[in-house]
Amino acid sequence: MAANIGILKRPVSTEGVWGWITTVDHKRIGILYGVSAFIFFLIGGIEALLMRVQLAQPESTFVDAGTFNALFTMHGTTMVFMVVMPAGAAFFNFLVPLMIGARDVAFPRLNALSYWLFIFGAILMNFSFFKAAFPDVGWFGYAPLTTSEYTLSSSTDYWVLGLQIMGIGTTAAGFNFVITILNMRAPGMTLMRMPLFPWMTLIVSFLIIFAFPPLTIALTLLLFDRFFGTNFFDTAGAGADPLLWQHLFWIFGHPEVYILILPAMGIVSDVLPTFSRKPLFGYTTVVFAGAVIAFLGFGVWAHHMFTTGLGAWATAAFAGATMAIGVPTGVKVFNWLATLWGGSIQFKTPLLFALGFISMFMLGGLSGVMHAAVPVDTQQQDTYFIVAHFHYVLFGGSIFGLTAGIYYWFPKMTGRMLSERIGKWHFWLMFIGFNATFMPMHILGVLGMPRRVYTYSIDQNWAGLNLFVSIGAFIIAISIALLIVNIVRSVRKGEVAGMNPWAGATLEWAIPSPPPHYNFAMIPTVRSQHPLWDEEANAVEPPPLPEHGEPHMPDPSYWPIVVAFGITMVAGGLLIWQATTWVGLFVIAVSGFIGIRGIYGWVFEPVAEESAERVHAHH
């Protein structure tokens, strides 16, 4: 049956490095996402620490202006696109099929392609460090600063192309999870019986599908300006409007904020019931609040542009919409608190992080309401107040939520428990370090310290607070070191977890830890929102399995990585083309061929070998 695959024989082994490279198993892809995201988290964290060393004292010469600008550009880009998004994807991948009672995602090979595009795009962007310099135009790359007239180095090209490739991968993942969740649920699991995490994944996937095209277009237009001399952002020569970039970027960028926070909200909504020993309060409300947030998220982008001169009434409309989005967000917070109300609260590490999420995210939301008030925003925009605000949302929110997820599901992923003792140290250090770092930034913002400055003078009197902030940043670093110690130690020596160590109610706890590659030996049927608690509240064991054979799963494939490589090297060819035209064209032609050949190979490769006909007939 392998006759039509061409030069590459279909991989058969799932062992070793090749097993990981050719894997189409959602759990392995999830682990790949998670490990990659964690490595980039360390890189982005080091970038942050270097910035904090520079800013710890006035008129410091630790790094120069260009380096500092590169540091904050890469810190932002890394944390958004290479950490929080792939960390979310790690959880989507590992858990969504388990939680909805499926054996895999809808398109296992497309899933692998998403991962390889993400990692290749991220590597391409970081490769700029060796070729030119890190990109230094800010993570939102405002035109016309990013046009070739004002950015002389090619680092911006790496930024554009790297983002573009990661964006394609992300969009593909968005399709995959929309269809997985709509179409692959276990019998009886209606949408309104799904746990909150798959729900938020579904909403995030819709956001990705609709929010990424504007970014793709914006990046394409900028790319064409830089490579082919089009005029989209040429203000002086062609009369272009620089605000076009800002509109396109934020039409993507604001839904992106919810792409970053909703997965964490989903995690917290599933962690709270487990450790309060009672169901989520107002399930329907929490689900719809998430959907309303996502929907409104498309109508508030211009609140990033209050100071750009939009005109009074556009400004007023966007201010109103922005305040409106505070309502469903507030409702979620109240429902979480009501979930704790009347419970029997077990203060395990996942719950601590979930509580950290609720409190810190709420503070971030409140400071967000402050700059929805436009007059206040004219004093806060582009100051450290904004930096404080979005770190409360994205660190206090997303990172705390994702860390709750790590502690909650690590036993499911590895079969072993993380240490509770180290976990609690980790939580308290991170909580204290986080507040020490970001709370004083509010004051710095009130005192007028602008964002993205590599230096400030002594007479500004910001030195003391900045020093304090920098110390806080290093406390966070120590807490992350504890997490690493905890993971490394527990993977080998942690307490054996068993099927359902937290007595959770959802389907992922009804199978062994770590799950077999087919997840569910028998597909479960579902009658409620908390299938394991059906017979008895807070039950631990699922019903015993009847006799069963081994389910058939998709085989590994080379084509996803081949296609991703082809696409990435077309971008590489474009970069070479800037320097040496014919070499670039040659690389583009060869890698374009590889990519297209890969797609054809993929299309004519059956999902699973021996039983190709059966799969065929099914589809």
Partner: protein, 379 residues
């Protein structure tokens, strides 16, 4: 008052770590340093809000800044009350419903009345914040006063140009750079433009920020300064390598002082005494600096900042250095040692670094031109 003691401490600390000899060589020094960190950390957080921070948004000195400040305080109070109440509720719940022997969870699924209540309450709070916001936005659309002073501010990489309509030579614009002078008690109507990339005009004590966007003319909120003094401004939109060093000052003068400044700007500068250092400097200026800089009555190019009455400016380099002769000299000789300026066609050249291949001027010539520039004073 504590601030007075803290500021020198911070300054001393900065010196301490930047001086190579002061690096800690032994454990004691390291410990001293750690102790310093700890003490500084504890002390500074408590006191810094009371410090003299010239970019503070909390000491408004104009009608516009005062209006914003009132709303600012209102939203801070509202948000703080909500935040405190929710955190307190959370702490209470966590304590009351902690797991303990003999206590089991109640299997509650929801409560519609409660949920409607906590949907409506945020709506009411947000409406309370929205109303002053909308009123304020409506206020910004008002026409400027009859006697308002009209100024056009233009952002350049990395300095500010200010053009006073109709106050200049022959009824044209009066142009100055990096130090804006306005009269107290008179409304100022500023329009904003940019030459290259996006910048943002911001003087926290006088007026909130509005971006300077190339190809657009934005209108800054009109404001009337209520106090004579000097206020700090800063570019608030990332605009490239030297963004951090794109600052400016606003001098709020009495009406008489402002008028005297306008007259002085328009008057022909005094010829330096023949044979003086300043006279030599004037020649250097004419041969080199005049290619880009205007001094009314001397030169007309507008590529770089207008330098008329430079001797009266408090700062050099777009508000970043005190205008001492040493600083001006360092600036003229080697701008790149102070500011990360790109080598574009409009950028100021490096004039003297002691390398014959690079130098366009001798050190003596730099001294002469500095003396000349410092002599351009108000009469």
């Amino acid at each position: 008052m504590i601030c007075v003691t803290i500021a020198p401490l911070a300054r001393g600390y900065a010196k301490h770590v930047t001086t190579p000899t002061a690096h800690p060589h032994n454990l004691a020094a390291t410990l001293r340093r750690l102790l310093f960190f700890a003490l500084a950390a504890a002390a500074l957080v408590a006191v810094l809000a009371s410090c003299d921070t010239p970019l503070t948004t909390f000491e408004p000195r104009s009608d516009a800044a005062q209006r914003v400040h009132t709303i600012y305080i209102f939203v801070i109070v509202a948000a703080s009350i909500v935040g405190f109440l929710v955190l307190a509720a959370m702490a209470y719940i966590l304590w009351k419903y902690r797991e303990r022997p003999g206590h089991t969870a109640q299997q509650i699924h929801g409560n519609t009345t409660l949920e409607i209540t906590w949907t409506v309450i945020p709506i009411l709070i947000l409406v309370a914040i929205a109303i002053p916001t909308i009123v304020w936005i409506a206020g910004t659309t008002a026409e400027p006063d009859e006697d308002a002073l009209h100024i056009e501010a233009v952002g350049h990489q990395w300095w500010f140009e200010f053009r006073y309509a109709g106050l200049g030579p022959d009824g044209g614009d009066l142009v100055t750079a990096n130090e804006l002078r306005i009269p107290v008690g008179r409304q100022v109507a500023i329009t904003l433009e940019a030459k290259d990339v996006i910048h943002s005009f911001w003087v926290p004590q006088l007026v909130g920020k509005t971006d300077m966007v190339p190809g657009r003319t934005n209108i800054l909120e009109k404001f009337t300064a209520t106090e004579i003094g000097t206020f700090y401004g800063q570019c608030a939109e990332f605009c490239g390598s030297a963004h951090a060093l794109m600052r400016f000052r606003v001098h709020v003068d009495s009406h008489a002082d402002f008028d005297r400044w306008v007259d002085s700007m328009n008057a022909e500068p005094e010829e330096p005494v023949a044979g003086s250092v300043e006279a030599s400097g004037a020649r250097v200026f004419g041969n080199f600096c005049a290619r880009c800089h205007t001094i009314y009555g001397v030169s007309t190019e507008e590529i770089g900042p207008n330098l008329t009455l430079f001797g009266d400016r408090a700062t050099v380099g777009a508000g970043i250095l005190d205008s001492t002769p040493e600083n001006v000299k360092a600036w003229v000789a080697d701008i790149r040692s102070i500011k990360p300026v790109l080598d574009t066609t409009d950028a100021m050249p490096t004039f003297y670094v002691g390398d014959p291949d690079v130098d366009q001027l001798t050190e003596a010539q730099v001294d002469q031109v500095v003396a000349y520039l410092k002599s351009l004073k108000l009469r």
